[in-house]
Amino acid sequence: QEQFIPLLSYRTGAYAPNGIPWANGKQDYVKYINANGGINGVKIAFEECETGYATDKGVECYERLKGKGAAVFDPQATGITFALTDKAPVDKIPLITLGYGLAASQDGGVFKWNFPLMGSYWTAADILVQHLGTKEGGLDKLKGKKIALVYHDSPFGKEPIPALKKRAEMHGFDLQLLPVTAPGVEQKATWLQVRRDRPDYVLLWGWGVMNSTALKEAIATGFPREKLFGVWWAGAEPDVKDVGANAKGYSALALNPNGTEYPLIQDILKKVHDANQGSGPRDEVGSVLYTRGMLISMLSVEAIRTAQEKFGKGKVMTGEQVRWGFENLNIDDKRLEELGVKGVIRPIKTTCEDHMGSSWARIHTWDGSKWVMGADWYQADKSVLDPMVKEAADRYAAEKQIKRRDASDCNA
């Protein structure tokens, strides 16, 4: 009896440099769990499916793998998430979109099957603004400032705009929107505009080649890297690697740190890589996206574990049961320590209403050769975002003629 976890990934195509460590992290953790004897004895079977970041290929993977008893899907791409959001409820398989996906899907009352764990683009936007406020010495100091958003012209890049607009309204800063056409290899016009308008800060909402290109253009137009802040998908090694020392001073949100010092990674190195089971090169272990992938698998496993607590230890969980697990995650500091990731992430506690579980993040900065984590943890401001989430979710529900879940459904 094995629990099946499909691994959607992209190791080829335009986003491969980012997709590869991510996929390796996901896979290594699964192998690690198996090396430890599985989840309460249930081993995990997995199969990787290459999506190439393309929606239709992603759908094909989904359809193919769901039949094998998939417990959870991490679509690993915004477009695929959209396409699967409608299918998951029918097939009764939870979707986990850690740090991406629809911001509104945090609302478990409407999005029963979606789990944007640890953050959405709205929380990301909110935290970035808070950080800028801190830098300026108070959010009120943002008044009159000019903040530009350089974003990937796609749903992924557009998601943060409502949250930023809201904040702009609250604090009276100017928000300038600069879309970059995918894949983002040509940004000269964008950065000329930046140079002309000299915004106080630039927020970078890119993925893949767009990030390194943006950095290079920033350098070429002399925009100070210290004033450039990326989303957590613009803050990994591939984004800065080939810019190197020139990108020094650039900061980005961090859902997780990089590095190999904490116990989980050490354990993975020992049990997986030393056993020649590593999915990728050893020196990539602990990189930002690897770690994120690892966390995704970790949380999935934790959800299964939680489900087993309720539905029977040592059994294979169905998608529906795993969903329950996701909805009742409670990873406190103690559990984090057991998992060997204390200090890596904050505790996560999901509920029927809140499918995100945590909205904390930090900022890390590129020092020219590696990412250095900042000390402060930020939490997205619930009072700002919750009403927005609710409104968006209601709208979605109305469009889809979905009824909000009531309490009984939550307790089921």
Binding site: I20, F82, K158
Partner: protein
């Protein structure tokens, strides 16, 4: 011996003008339809419907539409994705803005909207020819990509620019399960394929082909280039638009403009070329080649139990797929449909070589 037209004399022109003049072919077709409509729904798995047959059929339909433009009328288009998108977003708007809009009507209206845009971007074809014309259709492609992202109205002001469509029904029958979706798509595809076939064997079709083969001579025998070209753009974008509606509504359910990106346009063009320009069956064969072959190749290492990383498999699939394209072109430069008909010709002569 089995495949002969000997002794099948036509006594009327009507008989000679049938789509399948040889009775073996008629039987084969009937059998194919029987399998498609009856046998497959009984035996097919959900994966087959959702991940293989439905996308295959819809893309075949789009390729069919494109083939009318490129294969029959000789106007190169790299904007098929755009016309699909226009169909999809237009139908979406008809659905969300007009209460009780029936799916079929919305689908046809989506097609009509695509027609309008198609004809608009087809106007430059009166002056610009060949590869140069690609510019006009590419302009359509990038413009619509942009417009559907940027102009909130099209997406009903969805904040991310992604829209979705669920709960479809036709005459009160819900189109939800994989089988009903499949049957619905299959029906639409069959109807359009038949109509397309009728068009290309009638006067309009001949006008298109005449323009394609030699436009000056066509004009000299009285064919109005403007009418012929624009009607090809119209019919083609109508079919492509309908395919777009199906792709968005039935296959994806939720989509963003990237679902109809330039990659899709190229993909469809390739289907048409490898399948056979100027052939209805070519659209299906081409779609099968481009959509199904990589999927199949992808499965081979799994089936054989060869442990390869997904990246290696994908790279290998690319290499083999590329090599197969070249191989088939060398065997028959005019596409799979031609290969098929040459095959039939050989079969007819069999067992004599010539």
């Amino acid at each position: 011996m089995l495949y002969r037209e000997n002794g099948q004399f036509k006594t009327s022109y009507a008989a000679d003008q049938q789509i399948f003049p040889i009775f073996q072919e008629r039987w084969a077709m009937a059998l194919l339809l029987l399998v498609a409509f009856v046998v497959l729904p009984l035996v097919g798995s959900e994966y087959w419907f959702r991940a293989i047959l439905i996308p295959f059929l819809i893309l075949s339909l789009a390729a069919l539409g494109l083939n009318i433009l490129v294969g029959y009328c000789g106007q190169i288009s790299l904007g098929t994705g755009a016309f699909m998108a226009v169909g999809a977003y237009a139908a979406y708007n008809f659905m969300v803005r007009i209460d009780g809009m029936p799916l079929i009507v919305a689908m046809l209206l989506g097609g009509l909207s695509a027609t309008v845009i198609g004809v608009l971007f087809g106007i430059p074809s009166l002056r610009i020819k060949g590869l140069y014309l690609a510019v006009a259709t590419l302009a359509a492609q990038f413009f619509t990509d942009w417009a559907f992202l940027r102009i909130g109205w099209f997406t009903n002001n969805s904040s991310s620019g992604s829209v979705s469509m669920a709960r479809l029904d036709v005459f009160g029958l819900p189109i939800e399960s994989p089988v009903t979706k499949y049957l619905f798509v299959l029906t639409v595809v069959c109807v359009f394929a038949l109509m397309a076939k009728n068009l290309v064997r009638s006067a309009v079709g001949r006008q298109w082909m005449a323009i394609r083969d030699m436009d000056v001579a066509a004009a000299v025998i009285g064919i109005r280039p403007m009418y012929a070209k624009l009607s090809a753009f119209a019919v083609s974008s109508f079919i492509v638009g309908v395919a777009g509606v199906l792709w968005a509504f039935i296959h994806l359910g939720a989509w963003e403009p990237a679902a109809f990106s330039i990659d899709r346009s190229f993909q469809l063009l390739f289907m048409v070329i490898i399948g056979g320009l100027g052939s209805i069956s070519g659209a299906f064969l081409g779609a099968a080649f481009i959509v199904l072959l990589p999927l199949a190749l992808d499965q081979v290492p799994h089936l054989l139990g060869i442990p390869l990383s997904t990246a290696t498999i994908t790279h290998l699939v690319h290499m083999i797929f590329g090599a197969l394209i070249v191989f088939f072109l060398i065997v028959e430069p005019h596409g799979l449909a031609k290969l098929w008909s040459v095959g039939k010709q050989k079969l007819r002569l069999w067992p004599f070589p010539h």
